[in-house]
């Protein structure tokens, strides 16, 4: 028995009613910044691959928790961020083959879940590119714009965000910097964020993003396009006493 002779410290005997644990759980969630229950998600089928955003975020989680510098690719924006949110696109529009040029692909994201008062430190749009065979061996310019305002009777107002140059046979995740769009999306994140992607060949011809190998909603789960926002939590870590 060890030290049984020393009676344990007597704790105040306060019993919780059935309802209270739920309140207490809600408070614990609030302390940890966890939302209430997410919308029910269909469990992953055996054949279904985990989606691209959770896979990427799990890498970030491992990099964040293993900050002793072990393994994994360096994550440039991680150190300054307290909150990192990934968003999957809710709407995808194409103006591609058979219609007038320039061709483009547009993605819309619902940003309503961003907590108020967060400061953006960085934001990226990630899209997977497969090798493109037509035309082969050519240079492609991928440019990204924010759709600032849509008009029913004329072209939307666009704001330039990033330009990447690569080869048509390149394959892998293409990361486009969309941090500059946060100046507009933060003040009114009740509006969807619209991003538009153009592809041009070296001689200035517009090209269908799909033909260039950029995968949209038809991609497998693990290669779906998504965006990531890095935020600096501005809420004080010390709570006022009750």
């Amino acid at each position: 028995g060890g030290h049984l002779s020393r009676a344990p410290h007597v704790f105040p005997q306060r019993r919780l009613g059935v309802r209270e644990p739920r309140d207490v759980q809600r408070e614990i969630r609030e302390v940890l910044g966890l939302p209430g229950r997410p919308r029910s998600r269909a469990p992953l089928g055996a054949a279904q691959q985990p989606a691209s955003a959770p896979l990427f975020m799990l890498d970030l989680y491992r990099a964040m928790t293993d900050d002793s510098g072990g393994g994994g690719p360096p994550q440039p924006h991680l150190d300054r961020a307290d909150l990192i949110m990934s968003f999957v696109n809710i709407v995808e529009r194409d103006r591609t083959l058979g219609s007038q040029e320039p061709h483009w692909k547009e993605f819309h994201f619902d940003l309503t879940q961003i907590p108020a008062g967060e400061a953006v430190t960085a934001a990226e749009f990630r899209i997977y590119k497969e090798p493109s065979i037509h035309p082969l061996n050519t240079t492609l310019h991928i440019s990204m714009f924010e759709v600032v305002q849509e008009h029913s009777n004329r072209e939307s107002d666009l704001f330039f965000l990033d330009l990447q140059t690569l080869r048509s046979e390149d394959e892998g995740w293409l990361v486009l910097d969309i941090t500059a769009a946060s100046d507009r999306w933060l003040p009114n994140h009740h509006r969807d964020l619209g991003l538009r992607l153009y592809v041009e060949t070296a001689d200035g011809h517009s090209m269908d993003p799909g033909l260039a190998g950029l995968l949209g909603r038809q991609a497998p789960h693990s290669r779906q396009p998504f965006m990531v926002g890095f935020f600096r939590a501005s809420r004080s870590s010390v709570r006022t006493p009750r």
Binding site: H9, V24, L83, I84, S237
Partner: protein, 139 residues
């Protein structure tokens, strides 16, 4: 809703904690002579037990330390409570016979990281600073 811990689980936690206290395996402490020595114990908050693993992707829970006994820096109502102190107070409410009330002002805290789904099934990674007590005013 929280699933009440099964009796043997609760007992298991109990034994773990009290074995800490009685056997002194991993606790250290001090206190003026003849009074209950302030000892540091391990508090494991299990998201699995709380039934939250449908939204929390990682980790499955996290460990923190807390103190029980007479302390040099008792936390009182006019102080700002850190996130951890609030968490311990809440867990004490749920398990008063397992987790004592907060008694010390933590002096050394570290962060935990949480990966979870939000209401729209976006994936969120949050770093909660000042969350895990490493040392309190007594040790």
């Amino acid at each position: 809703t929280a699933r009440p811990l099964k009796k043997q689980q609760l007992n298991h936690i109990n034994q773990l904690l009290h074995s800490n206290t009685y056997l002194g395996i991993s606790d250290d402490g001090h206190g003026s002579h003849g009074r209950e020595v302030c000892r540091r114990h391990e508090l494991y908050v299990s998201f699995r037990d709380l039934g939250w693993l449908d939204s929390v992707i990682a980790p499955q829970g996290y460990s923190a330390y807390y103190c029980a006994g007479e302390c040099i820096y008792p936390l009182n109502s006019c102080m700002n409570s850190t996130n951890h102190a609030t968490m311990q107070a809440l867990v004490h409410l749920m398990k008063p016979d397992v987790i004592p009330k907060v008694c010390c002002v933590p002096t050394e805290l570290s962060a935990i990281s949480l990966l979870y789904y939000d209401r729209n099934n976006n994936v969120i990674l949050r770093r909660e600073r000042n969350m895990v007590v490493q040392a309190c005013g007594c040790h």
